[in-house]
Structure formats: C-alpha cells, structure tokens
C-alpha cells in the first residue's frame, strides 16, 4: 500500500533535485550559443555559382528572393557560334518575409546557396532586412564546413556517381570499338 502523501513528497523531491542541478539557461548576450553547423540562421550566396536559373525564386513559398539579370553574348570561338550567358545583376533575400524553410538551398542545382548559423542581424527598419548580394556574399565567411558523416553512413551518392562515370570513361578509352558497337546494337531494334 502506498503511504498517503507519497505524491506530495515526490513533488517536493523533484523541485529540490532540480535546484541542485545546473540550470539550463544560456546567458545569451554575454555568452554566445554554440549552434550546430546546419543551424538555419541566415542564407549565404556564392555569386559565381549562380546561373540565374530562377529555381530558388520560383520555389520560394513566400516569394522573398528577388533576382534580376541580363543576357550577355560571348563572342564565337573559332569554328563555333556565339553563345549567350546569364549575368546576375541583383540577388536579394528579404529576411523579413523569409520563413527559413531552406527550400531555395535544397533546390539550388549549382550549390550557390548555403545555410549559415549566424543570426544576429536584427534591424530597426524593416527595409534593411532585405539583404542584397554583397551582404549575402559576406555571410559566406560564416558558413561552417559540413559536419562529418555519421559512422556506417552510406557514402554520398555523388561520390559513387562520379566513380561510376570515371570507370565508364576508362572503359571507353580502352575499347572504343566495343563500346560504340554495343551502343549501335542496342539502338538497332528501335
């Protein structure tokens, strides 16, 4: 049989035990928090990687990415023809609208966008929350290297893909006739 008042005593024990332990409070402005490397603080941009494909701007759920660009014609190399290339004029993220979903970073095919754990960029004017590309580039310095993979984790897919591609290219170089022959044989029935 449980003694009456056991529950009451347990309640007292819980609070007393909590008191003897260190409290979990971080003294934030004095002591900076230690954030994990993939914390969603701010989005950084590597301008050179951007091809103005507009995927990020279109996938953004609240349309907070603004991209302006113009086309530039590259003079034809010898024996070729002229090519056109997109040049980025403006890349801005309005962090007053951003909801930190990270879809733009996931969707970017050219690794131009990165998460940085930096978060202290509050402003007194909401218009200053729109970070232009210079400022987004500055955040790149705060992007930490990706954490090491877990032990026993699968190897990254792109590594395997690259190795496979390399092996294929090697085979091709060794036996070009066989490879093309096989290709022709496959193509033939269709």
């Amino acid at each position: 049989m449980r003694l009456p008042g056991t529950g009451l005593a347990k309640g007292l024990v819980v609070t007393m035990r909590t008191m003897t332990k260190r409290s979990v409070t971080d003294q934030y402005p004095d002591v900076k928090p230690e954030l994990p490397p993939r914390s969603r603080g701010v989005i950084a941009l590597v301008e050179e990687n951007c091809t103005v494909c507009m995927l990020c701007a279109r996938e953004c759920p609240d349309w907070c990415i603004y991209i302006d660009s113009h086309k530039e014609t590259i003079p034809a190399p010898e024996g070729g023809r002229e090519r056109q290339r997109n040049v980025l004029d403006r890349f801005a993220i309005d962090f007053s609208l951003c909801m930190y979903c990270g879809i733009c970073i996931e969707v970017c095919p050219f690794d131009a966008l990165f998460w940085s754990p930096e978060f202290e960029y509050a402003e007194f004017d909401i218009r200053n929350m729109t970070h232009e590309k210079d400022r987004l580039r500055d955040w790149m310095a705060t992007v930490p290297p990706p954490p090491a993979a877990d032990p026993h984790a699968d190897r990254p897919k792109e590594l395997d893909a690259a190795r496979k591609a390399g092996e294929k290219a090697g085979e091709k170089a060794v036996a070009p006739d066989q490879a093309t022959g096989g290709q022709a044989a496959q193509d033939a029935p269709s």
Binding site: G11, T15, T18, M19, S23, T25, Q27
Partner: protein
C-alpha cells in the same frame, strides 16, 4: 550601561522597522532565486551586478515611478486605505514577536492573543480592496479571500491554542521559555496545521485561489498599480516573515539551540528563514487548489486534526 527610556524605545522601533523592511525583501529575493533554480532557470542576474541582488530594489523604484490609478467608480477612501490595512498589521505583529531572550519590540502578557488578532486584520485589506475596486474580478477575489479566512482562521487559532495550553501561558516569550525539544513530536500535528492554515491565510500558492491569475486576473488587487500595488506585494512577503517567525516561536522553540545564550537571536532568524524557504518550496512544487478542495482541506482535514491535537495536548498537560 544605562540607556535612557526614550532612547531604548526609539532603538526598539528602529530595529523592528529595519527587520520589517529588510526581511521581506530577503525572502522575496530568495524566492526569485530559489524558484528560478527549482525551475532550472537562473532568475534575475543583472540588477546590482552580482546575481541580481538588487532586483527588488529596482522593482521598488519602478513601482514608485508608476502612476497611481484609482478607478472612477471605486470607493476612493476605502480603495486608497486598503494597502495600508493589509501591510501595517504585519508590522504591528512583528513588534510583539520575541527574537531572543529579552530581545523583543514590546513584551506582551497576552502576546499570542494579540498576534493572532492583529494578523487576521491583515486579510481585511484584501477584502476592502476587493470591495472598493468596482470590478467584478476584484469582488470575486475578495469573496474568495473572505471564504478562505472563514475556513482557515479556525484551525489556525486552534493549533495556536494547543501550544498555549501546553506552555500554560499566552506570552510568546513564556511559550519559548517553556518549550522543550520533545514538544516537536508532541505538537507536530498542531505545527503542521498552523503552518498550512497560515499559508492559506496569506493566500500563498498552493492556496492562492483568491488571486488566481488565470481565472480572476489578480483577484482583489486587479485595479491597483504603482506604489499601492507594491504595498500589497510587500504585505505578502511581510506575511511570510511573520508566519514563519510565529511558527518558529510557537512550535520550533524560538531561540533554543546550541550556544543560545549568545546566539539565540540567530537561531530564531535561522529557523524563520528555513521555514520561509519551505514556503517558497511549496509554492514551486504544488499546483493551485480548487475552491472546493480548499474548503474540504480546511474543514475535513485541518479542523479535525487541530481538535485532536487540542485533545492530546489537554490530556498530556493534565497528566504531566
């Protein structure tokens, strides 16, 4: 060394006033910090530089700067008087509580009677505030205070009567003088009843139904602001000091302890502060009692226990 009478009176008044101003703040600060750490927080850390020691001073300055608002429909005189009625009784009670042998503001022959009577006046402040605020939440709070006072005053006084019977005197110093360590066991039910009923009269959690902030905002104190509100808060902490000091004097043997000839006053203060810590501890640990649970605890729990204690005390006192 001969001290002139008038100087002695002034000295006693200054000491009591000093204790009245310092001890409640000490309890309040302890509550800030102890409660915070019990909830795995740090509590105030900035005011005053070292672990927020000046937090309550800063609070006091803030309260003093705030506007003192009296609602248009309020009963102005009663509304303005209520904080004083809530606070001053505790100051008066403090005068009569002995801290060490001969160390008392004013020795009274019927000290226990005086102390209990005056302490009950403090609750009137909340009643007045509830009535005069012209606010239904305040009135509800006031009525709950009244119900609580009705329920808990009886076990409170019965428990105190038991110890008076045991000591054969109503003088607080006399009770401490008559106290012996085995009374701890003999008067244990009475001590528990006295402490719990006292908590309920102070409307401290878990008995804070009259100020249940999630239901009736802040009960009788809803309409108060600025310094008057601060006085009500101060009254709560002064009440804790008085209740703990009184429990110490009546049930824990006041200044009895090792080296009590020299350090008696320290023992009283130490016991008082330990009890104050228990008050805070209880507040952190338990949820608020519902109104019907509150009444049931008083009438079905505390009153019978207090009566049984009274009977036990009577039997032992006669047999002794």
């Amino acid at each position: 060394m001969n001290i002139p009478d008038w100087l002695e009176v002034v000295l006693r008044i200054v000491l009591v006033l000093g204790a009245f101003l310092v001890l409640p703040l000490l309890v309040g600060q302890t509550e800030h910090k102890a409660m915070a750490h019990m909830q795995s927080r740090l509590g105030p850390m900035y005011a005053g530089g070292f672990h927020g020691w000046a937090q309550l001073v800063a609070d006091g300055v803030k309260f003093a700067q705030k506007e003192d608002i009296v609602p248009a429909a309020a009963d102005r005189a009663v509304f303005k008087l209520a904080p004083a009625v809530a606070l001053i009784p505790y100051l008066v009670v403090l005068v009569a509580i002995p801290v060490g042998p001969g160390l008392v503001g004013q020795e009274l022959d019927a000290g226990l009677f005086f102390v209990l009577a005056v302490m009950a006046v403090g609750v009137l402040g909340a009643l007045m505030a509830g009535w005069a605020s012209a606010n239904k939440f305040s009135l509800l709070g006031g009525l709950r205070t009244a119900a609580q006072l009705m329920a808990y005053e009886l076990p409170f006084i019965l428990a105190a009567a038991s110890v008076a019977m045991a000591a054969g005197t109503l003088s607080l110093s006399g009770i401490v003088d008559a106290w012996e360590p085995w009374w701890l066991l003999w008067q244990l039910p009475g001590a528990v009843v006295f402490f719990i009923a006292g908590l309920a009269e102070l409307q401290r959690p878990p008995f804070d139904m009259p100020v249940a902030d999630s239901e009736i905002i802040f009960g009788a104190f809803t309409e108060y602001s600025g310094l008057r509100f601060a006085l009500f808060l101060l009254a709560e902490y002064a009440g804790i000091v008085v209740l703990c000091a009184l429990t110490t004097v009546l049930f824990l043997g006041g200044w009895h302890g090792p080296y009590d000839n020299e350090l008696g006053w320290l023992w009283t203060l130490l016991k008082t502060m330990v009890l104050a810590f228990v008050v805070i501890w209880l507040r952190v640990s338990y949820p608020r009692l519902r109104e019907d649970q509150l009444q049931r605890l008083a009438w079905q729990g505390l009153v019978p226990v207090a009566l049984a204690q009274l009977a036990l005390t009577g039997i032992v006192a006669v047999a002794r």
